[in-house]
């Protein structure tokens, strides 16, 4: 069963073609990796998916819903969650508040109830707190719970961002370079969390990453993009030996 289809999408900024006819699909419980050199258009694909950019042509369908013209918060409500390449957390808020913010589209009370903090608002807030604590438990963030995230080490911030995406209870998770700038130990921790997410939560994941070791170990299928175009799509083992991929990464001698 296909969760996401991305069909022949074109996105350009003036003369620059960021995405030039990329097509792929992601299945249930699949860990789909997108790799490619810098500037290949990987993050642009994510920005199209989450509604930050609007493509000029093409069609994106997520669980049967057409994403065309939808705003970011509407796409989030459909169940798409993402992390960012450069951590985009709310630095002044605590870990707990950041995670609870991830649950924003599950809130079921209005502004008036919030002003009074009675009945529904209070019950709802406590229920969401419980959910946020489950994420804290899952990602082992207990000791950081009350810290403003701006004060936390980079590796922990990356984990909090993953937690915020998980708190949304998504149906598809987009991870934009989850281990960029991390050391060996942090990378292995993150790999373990990603595998846990896929196996325990049965979540399809799209992963953009430069760490080839991680991609080859974790991914079910890999797509290689370069200059906004698909170079190859296939199993990690096939991709490694594809001449077109080697050419994109290393170039060829004439």
């Amino acid at each position: 069963m296909t969760v996401l289809t991305f069909e022949d999408v074109h996105l350009s900024f003036a003369g620059v073609k960021a995405i030039d006819g990329v097509t792929f699909h992601v299945g249930q419980n699949e860990l789909f990796a997108i790799i490619g050199p810098n500037g290949a258009g990987k993050t642009s694909i994510f920005n199209v998916l989450s509604g930050v950019y609007r493509p000029q042509a093409g069609r994106v369908t997520f669980n049967g819903a057409d994403l065309k013209g939808k705003r970011p918060h509407e796409i989030a409500a459909l169940g798409m969650a993402r992390t960012f390449q450069n951590v985009e957390l709310f630095a002044n808020l605590t870990v707990l508040e950041n995670l609870t913010l991830g649950r924003h589209h599950h809130l079921r009370y209005g502004t008036l109830a919030a002003l009074l903090w009675l009945g529904k608002a209070r019950r709802d807030e406590i229920a969401h707190r419980r959910k946020a604590e489950e994420i804290i438990d899952f990602l082992e963030l207990e000791q950081w719970r009350r810290y403003p995230v701006g004060l936390l080490p980079y590796g922990v911030q990356k984990r909090v961002e993953l937690g915020r995406a998980l708190a949304m209870e998504p149906k598809l998770l987009l991870l934009d370079e989850p281990v960029a700038g991390m050391n060996q130990e942090e990378t292995e921790d993150m790999a373990r969390y990603i595998l846990d997410i896929r196996d325990e939560l049965q979540l399809p994941i799209i992963l953009v990453e430069h760490d080839m070791g991680l991609v080859m170990d974790l991914a079910d299928r890999v797509m290689v993009v370069d200059f906004g175009q698909t170079v190859a799509t296939g199993l990690p083992s096939d991709i490694q030996h594809d001449p077109a991929v080697i050419k994109a990464y290393l170039g060829v001698t004439s």
Binding site: R71, F84, L89, F90, L101, G102, T111, L115, W117, A121
Partner: protein, 366 residues
């Protein structure tokens, strides 16, 4: 409980408004002080404190939209004006020189003033969803000028520039708060009312900020793109921020001038907006207690400079001599804003945080 104030056994207790013993203690001490002050202080001082309470309601409103949601608004004076004139219109004499409906009950004119100002806020909000930062500040500045023009020219409603009209009457179901009786002097009764209203408005604001709505505000302030991607609707929450902020401003404007007794259209200028921004900045942006502290600070500042004046011989009280007390006041305003922004951007509340963490860590320095 005193030994381990952060030990909670369920989420409800942890998330309570006063989740530590000391917060509870301080809150009830403030309530006690509010009840007792009218018995201790002189009427002139009480009047000033009442104005402080009402200004605090307005400052909380500005704090919500600017401090929490990060939408810089210079248009607060406009919303204060809308509230003031609406209340005066509702409570005014129908047979008088200016329009009036003759409904003098505070329970009617206060919410109406708030709601009309809120409506104005909702009309302005679409600008905020399209603009950011300085551009929004400039547009809201335009609002002040438009407001001033309307207030000055619509003489049938506002009394006209330089003349004005009398403000709403402080009347509760036929019981007048501005007449002395067995319960107390007008100043005492008005202070209790102002204090009670401040408590209600402050607690409601505090509730809002610890709810999902308040979190959405801070998310928009800190990173608006990420806020959208995790599911916060930017247009919706910017509109809510402006609506609630202008509701607070409308109520504050109505009450403020009901206390003073007379509304003059010239009062709702940029200077008034800047005064409220100063309250929020000096008190501590992004906190409710900061807005309250800032409001009292700014309201009491003229009184303080007057008290200090005899101690500094070269400052004169006569307005025609050179370093006079009024100039010192204006200069002090500017100096304080600059000083706080440079040395303590978290404002008065930030100073309190420092003291608190010093004693929390004592005898260690960090």
């Amino acid at each position: 409980m005193i030994g381990r104030p952060l030990l909670h056994t369920d989420y409800a207790k942890d998330m309570a408004l006063h989740n530590t013993f000391s917060k509870k203690l301080v809150f009830w001490l403030i309530v006690l002080a509010g009840l007792a002050l009218p018995q201790i202080l002189q009427d002139t001082e009480l009047h000033l404190l009442s104005i402080g309470c009402i200004a605090a309601i307005g400052a909380i409103g500005l704090g919500l939209v600017t401090g929490y949601a990060g939408q810089v608004s210079l248009g607060h004076a406009f919303f204060l004006g809308v509230g003031a004139f609406t209340s005066a219109f509702v409570s005014g004499d129908p047979a008088g020189r200016v329009y009036g409906l003759g409904i003098t009950n505070l329970v009617v004119w206060l919410p109406v003033a708030g709601l009309v100002a809120m409506l104005a806020g909702v009309i302005v909000a679409p600008l905020a969803t399209r603009l950011r930062g300085l551009y929004l500040a400039l547009v809201t500045l335009g609002l002040v000028f438009i407001g001033q023009h309307i207030f000055n020219e619509w003489a049938k409603m506002t009394g006209g520039g330089g003349v004005g009209r009398s403000a709403a009457t402080l009347d509760l179901f036929g019981y007048s708060l501005s007449k002395a009786d067995s319960i107390g002097t007008p100043e005492q009764k008005i202070f209790w009312l102002a204090f009670l209203l401040l408590l209600i408005f402050a607690i409601a604001a505090r509730n809002l900020t610890r709810s999902g709505v308040g979190r959405a505000f801070t998310a928009i302030r800190d990173r608006d793109i990420a806020a959208g991607v995790i599911g916060v609707s930017l247009p919706k929450y910017k509109t809510i921020a402006f609506a609630i902020s202008s509701f607070y401003a409308g109520c504050a404007g109505a009450l403020l001038y009901a206390l003073i007794g007379h509304i003059e259209p010239g009062a709702f200028s940029l200077v008034l907006s800047v005064e409220y921004i100063a309250m929020v900045l000096i008190g501590g942006p992004g906190t409710i207690s900061g807005a309250i502290a800032g409001a009292f600070f700014i309201t009491l500042l003229p009184r303080l400079t007057r008290d200090i004046q005899p101690l500094i011989p070269f400052i004169s009280t006569a307005p025609d001599e050179m370093p006079n007390i009024y100039q010192v006041q204006t200069i002090l305003y500017g100096v304080l804003i600059i000083g706080f922004l440079i040395f303590e951007p978290r404002g008065l509340v930030g100073i309190w945080f420092r003291i608190r963490s010093y004693w929390k860590n004592w005898p260690f320095s960090y």
